[in-house]
Amino acid sequence: MVTGVSRDAGARCARRLAEDPSIGTVLGIDVVPPRAELGRVRFVRADIRNPVIAKVIAAEAVDTVVHTGVVATPGSAGGRSSMKEINVIGTMQLLAACQKAPGVAKLVVKSSTTVYGAGARDPAMFTEEMAPRAIHHHGLSKDAVEVEGYVRGFARRRPDVCVSTLRMANWIGPKTDSPITRYFGLPVVPTVLGYDARLQFLHEDDGVEAIHHATVNDLPGTFNLAGDGVLSLSQAIRRLGRPTLRMPSFTASGTAAAVRRARLADFSPDQITFLTFGRGVDTTRMRTEFGFEPKYTTAEAFDDFRRSLGTGATTRVSSLLTAGLGALRG
């Protein structure tokens, strides 16, 4: 059973699982019917915030639950309170239902590296054991921390269930539509003056593969997943060939609000701190214990994403200049 299948990431994970002949039936759960083609996935319209989910699990004799239903953007969920409801209450209800279902043997949770927060006191690389130094009091970061807390509680109460928590770096790729991809798609990219964040990305194909890998193998534990290497924010924007607008940090929330109102991208305060200080996670355990090798490094994933965007203004200006020079000289 896969939750959150009408979202892009959930739909792709469900499709990938359905393609695997070793997996019997794949059940997709969401409140709204999916727009994407789901193939062999059977869609069940149910709300994970509702105890009905327990009946679905019992009736369909679900043995594996893949939870991808954590929402990253308040806009798409219909407001921050609704987002919190889906993320936290939804997870609680889902885990409560799983706890009552004796048939459930495995739980895979798609979490995020935002659980580590972002701040000036962060170590360069977070390993799975490290606690966040800068705690966020809002947004996805807080939700992700709470979701993981409930998942740990569930793992304690049901030691027979194999629980894998996958802390994934920001997904990026041609098909991903997220605050980060929208941000890089802005014609002029605003950044915080005087800071240059270190970023890690996970290619969307690798993300889907990792979910599949965790579903078909028994790999209990918490794992950081990210492409190798880091890019700095300024470097990423230069690679896009887009102009940067460096603004002092006190204007950041105002800028974010303006961008949100213009419906260009959806920013929460925890994303602003992420784009200020950045974050790196250690992926040693991903290789040794989880046994997963991402196909794309951070830079390759970003290049793949870049190709899907149009050329930036800087690139256009320079090509126009070249053309102008050529014409002049001709």
Partner: protein, 369 residues
């Protein structure tokens, strides 16, 4: 006259250089420029008058021979030969290579085509910009004299522990340059969290190879085989009054010793003489410092009296001595978790640096020479 021939076609049949109204002549213009490039190569010395004459001649000829005998992307005929001559005339043979390197560097920066390591260290930027900017300060202003450089391992990792002084952490920057120039390896420094909270300073420090001073980062750097520099006195050493110069403060909590013990790397004590005199600290505006959230606001004989001029460090003569490495790989397993042993080694390192400082001070003829 083929380069002149093509003009009428490129501007949509009108003679001259186009009207400027068409915004997208690029494809045509580029293709034509490419064709024009080939004949021009043969006579790079052609003057502008010749070109103009050719243009008139082409108009008289009417339909030019825009024979597409050249296809594929050919470089636009920039007058590189002239540029090369000019550069060589200005900077000499070696200068030409340097200018070429600089242009390549600029292109890499503009296209984002460089690598960062996981700590955010930007080797390209450090080697091309940051270190060359600091080098005159090290060589000309402070005239740093280095001793015992052979005590730094040439290929293995080591933890360089030094005394901190001088109100502003210039000793860190100078040591970074000295180690990079004498060993060819970057010195990765551990800096206080205040550095990374400060805009620009934090950004540049990370790019220059610094990271936050904590055990996780230190051990990570040491395991990867880096030279790591640490100033365990921190702000206590940096902001001590001038009257207490060359008296070592408490060496933190000994975290650097346990990091070295866990990774089994040698500790190289480093004594820096001269940094105490660059900004003689005679006072501290404590209330303003509290308000701004910084450890101290220094008062020196020239700051804030002379304003920005007071920020120029006094040109003291510096001596930097690297001492005998202290091995940590012979301690038994779990030694890093034995606080008494850690304190003892910390004291040993501190004593070594203190004694070396006294010895260097005895040898010093004067503060400025």
């Amino acid at each position: 006259m083929a380069d002149a021939d093509v003009i009428p076609i490129g501007s949509g049949g009108r003679p001259g250089r186009g009207t400027g109204r068409r915004t997208t002549p690029s494809a045509a213009a580029r293709a034509l420029a490419g064709q024009a490039g080939r004949p021009k190569k043969g006579r790079a010395t052609k003057s502008a008058d010749d070109v103009a004459a050719g243009s008139r001649a082409a108009e008289l000829q009417g339909e030019p021979a825009a024979v597409p005998d050249v296809d594929g992307p050919e470089l636009p005929p920039l007058d590189f030969a002239g540029l090369e001559r000019a550069v060589r005339g200005l900077f000499g043979e070696d200068g030409e290579r340097r200018v070429a390197e600089w242009l390549a560097f600029l292109r890499r920066r503009l296209t984002g085509d460089y690598e960062l390591d996981e700590f955010g260290y930007d080797r390209d930027l450090s080697d091309q910009v940051l270190l060359p900017m600091l080098r005159p300060m090290v060589e000309k202003w402070f005239r740093v004299e280095v001793r015992g450089i052979e005590n730094i391992p040439s290929d293995r990792s080591a933890l360089i522990v030094a005394n901190h002084s001088g109100t502003m952490p210039l000793d860190g920057l100078v040591t970074q340059v000295v180690v990079a120039d004498h060993t060819g390896r970057p010195l990765r420094t551990l800096a206080a969290d205040l550095v990374f909270q400060t805009p620009f300073v934090g950004e540049l420090s990370r790019k220059g190879g610094a990271t936050l001073a904590n055990n996780d980062d230190a051990e990570r750097l040491l395991r990867q085989g880096n030279l790591v520099g640490v100033w365990p006195e921190g702000f206590k050493g940096l902001g001590k009054p001038f009257s207490e110069r060359y008296k070592l403060q408490r060496f933190g909590r000994g975290g650097f010793v346990s990091a070295a013990m866990r990774t089994g790397v040698p500790i190289v004590p480093c004594s820096i003489v001269g940094a105490e005199e660059i900004y003689p600290l005679v006072g501290n505006i404590a209330s303003l410092a509290r308000l701004l959230g910084v450890p101290y606001i220094p008062v020196t004989p020239f700051f804030p009296l002379l304003g920005p001029l007071g920020l120029i460090p006094l040109p003291s003569k510096w001596l930097i001595e690297f001492g005998e490495p202290i091995r940590t790989d012979e301690f038994p397993d779990g030694a890093a978790d034995d606080p008494m042993l850690v304190f003892n080694v910390t004291d040993q390192v501190r004593e070594t640096i203190q004694q070396t400082l006294y010895a260097l001070l005895m040898q010093r003829r004067s503060v400025f020479f």
